[in-house]
């Protein structure tokens, strides 16, 4: 594993993201959808809502941000390069597929984490400042904040591996993005079910989910590397 090669691709990807209006818009709009409507709801809650809120875990729905934000970007990562003819020159260099895919995964992971934490931070700051007394402490429970911090990168990475896996197999960017969003839905469903208390969150469940995601993220790298077939990607014949 060459750190120089991974950083080379990672730096290139991040530079490209910064100058790609489409990616910037995608990365901004999804979090706004998650931020604005809930903020309005929470700010309109009366102080009396604080007690029932303290028994619920609605803020966990914000874990949908790290699932959705990087999935669309990851889904276009390989197929776009293939369409633009930039993949072949990269594959003619000594880079290993594991290195290329790690860099491709880290590139959307970093902004996804930053955006997710930033949106959560803005949400927390706004309700601390402007919500009725008692509402903010009821919503911001220690274990939930910890879950938000810990699960954000794990969920984002899982969603990224799904997106890249799809990106290595399809030949159309839009199809890749749509499939990737579909692939993210199970994770969104799980976080929503927990947020709305259909699945009751416990420490044991959190540990099991966390351990499962770590294993899946690790396996995701191997599986996607195995799926990355240079010959098929270059010639589209297999």
């Amino acid at each position: 594993m060459s750190r120089t090669r991974v950083i080379g691709i990672l730096r290139k990807e991040l530079r490209d993201f910064r100058r790609n209006r489409y990616i910037l818009v995608t990365m901004s709009i999804i979090p706004l959808v998650f931020l604005i409507q809930p903020l309005i709801s929470v700010l309109s809650l009366p102080p009396a809502a604080a007690v029932p809120l303290s028994h619920r875990h609605e803020l966990l729905y914000m874990l949908g941000i790290p699932v959705l934000v990087p999935s669309v970007v990851a889904a276009s990562s390989v197929v776009t390069e293939r369409q633009q003819g930039t993949l072949e020159p990269v594959l003619t260099t000594p880079i290993r597929r594991e290195e290329l895919l790690l860099a491709k995964a880290l590139a959307p992971l970093l902004p996804a984490i930053v955006v997710s934490y930033a949106v959560y931070g803005i949400f927390v700051a706004v309700i601390e400042l402007f919500a009725h007394p008692g509402v903010a402490p009821a919503l911001l429970q220690g274990p939930e904040v910890l879950a938000q911090v810990l699960f954000t990168p794990l969920l984002a990475l899982w969603s990224i591996w799904v997106g890249i896996a799809i990106s290595t197999r399809v030949s159309d960017v839009r199809a890749a993005q749509q499939l990737s969003v579909l692939g993210s839905l199970p994770l969104i469903a799980v976080t929503s079910l927990i947020a709305f208390d259909v699945i009751h969150p416990t420490l044991g469940l959190a540990l099991a989910l966390g351990a499962g995601l770590i294993v899946i993220d690790r396996l995701g790298w191997r599986v996607v590397s195995a799926m990355f077939d240079r010959e098929r990607l270059i010639t589209s014949t297999r």
Partner: protein, 319 residues
């Protein structure tokens, strides 16, 4: 120089099939270090697939090869790619990134020492230093091709594969790329150049191979012409000769002749330098007004068309 000091490229019976379709088969040739080798063939002949196979992008289905001294095998892919560079037909640049940023990325991929100096050197080699901060998307097609060439030079490759480097370029851009390739050839880089532009191969290459799924011929352009075409003298006289058969048949230096229009004669000869003065004297002795006499030159294009036509006929005959 290669690891073992031998051929830069050595190919034995190499072939690639995609299912039932043969991309190329039974390729065998060797390329010496520092040689500029032209790989000619019509569209679909298997040129690009050969480059991809030798560049470890796709796996051959038969045969063997040694690239920059290393056996062509999946486990040697990284090591081979470290020693070669491939410039694909389309430049494949990141258009939102500047020229320098594109090269930085590839300098990292090759893990070159002192990347800044290497990038500067590569940009100087292709005369693009002034444009290093320009986004690649703002460059003309010819300039993009030069950036792609600079990218291929970053790692100081032992073998440089250029796949149709002037495809789609205007004459000025083509001339610039030719000069760059000629300069690289003079500096001792082994170059494997695929093209269907025959004048390009003739101008740049030490040897050429003509491919049409299988290798049709290989050699120096002059050797190929000599192999394929008899040496001829072309003679023009002011008026048609009255008894050409009598004049030419009596000359031992002339093996055969035919008329190619009024006052124009093509003579088959073994040695034009010996035959030309003899024929001139004979013509003058008969009172003919000789306008010109000279050796006929067959271009590489003639060789190419002859071989490709022949292979097309063979293919049609076998189906």
């Amino acid at each position: 120089m290669t690891v073992d000091g031998g051929a830069a490229l050595s190919v034995h019976g190499l072939g690639k099939r995609f299912g039932d379709r043969v991309a190329f088969e039974d390729l065998s040739f060797e390329i010496a270090p520092g040689e500029v080798f032209g790989f000619l063939g019509p569209n679909g002949a298997g040129k690009t697939t050969t480059v991809r196979a030798l560049g470890t992008l796709i796996a051959p289905t038969s045969g063997s090869a040694t690239v920059a001294g290393i056996p062509l095998a999946p486990e040697n892919g990284v090591e081979i790619r470290r020693r070669i560079a491939i410039m694909p037909e389309t430049p494949g640049l990141y258009l939102r990134l500047s020229v320098a940023e594109n090269l930085e990325c590839f300098a990292d991929l090759y893990e070159v020492a002192d990347p800044k100096e290497r990038i500067d050197r590569a940009l100087r080699a292709v005369n693009l230093t002034e444009r290093s901060d320009d986004p690649c998307g703002a460059l003309s097609k010819g300039l993009r091709q030069r950036v792609a060439l600079a990218r291929a030079l970053l790692s100081d490759p032992e073998v440089l594969f250029l796949d149709e480097p002037t495809s789609g370029l205007d004459p000025v851009a083509t001339r610039d790329v030719h000069e760059l390739i000629a300069g690289l050839g003079r500096s001792g880089v082994t170059i494997f150049l695929t093209t269907h532009r025959l004048e390009e191969a003739e101008r740049l290459c030490d040897r050429v191979a003509i491919l049409n799924t299988t290798l049709r011929t290989i050699g120096r352009p002059q050797e190929l012409r000599d192999q394929l075409f008899a040496k001829t003298l072309a003679i023009r006289t002011l008026a048609a000769l009255r008894e050409p058969a009598q004049i030419f048949a009596d000359l031992p230096a002339v093996d055969g002749w035919h008329q190619d229009g009024p006052g124009t004669y093509i003579l088959a000869v073994s040695d034009p330098a010996v035959a030309a003065p003899v024929v001139t004297r004979a013509l003058v002795a008969t009172g003919a007004d000789v306008l010109s006499i000279g050796e006929s030159h067959h271009s590489l294009e003639d060789v190419y068309l002859e071989l490709v036509d022949e292979s097309e006929k063979t293919n049609r005959g076998s189906t």
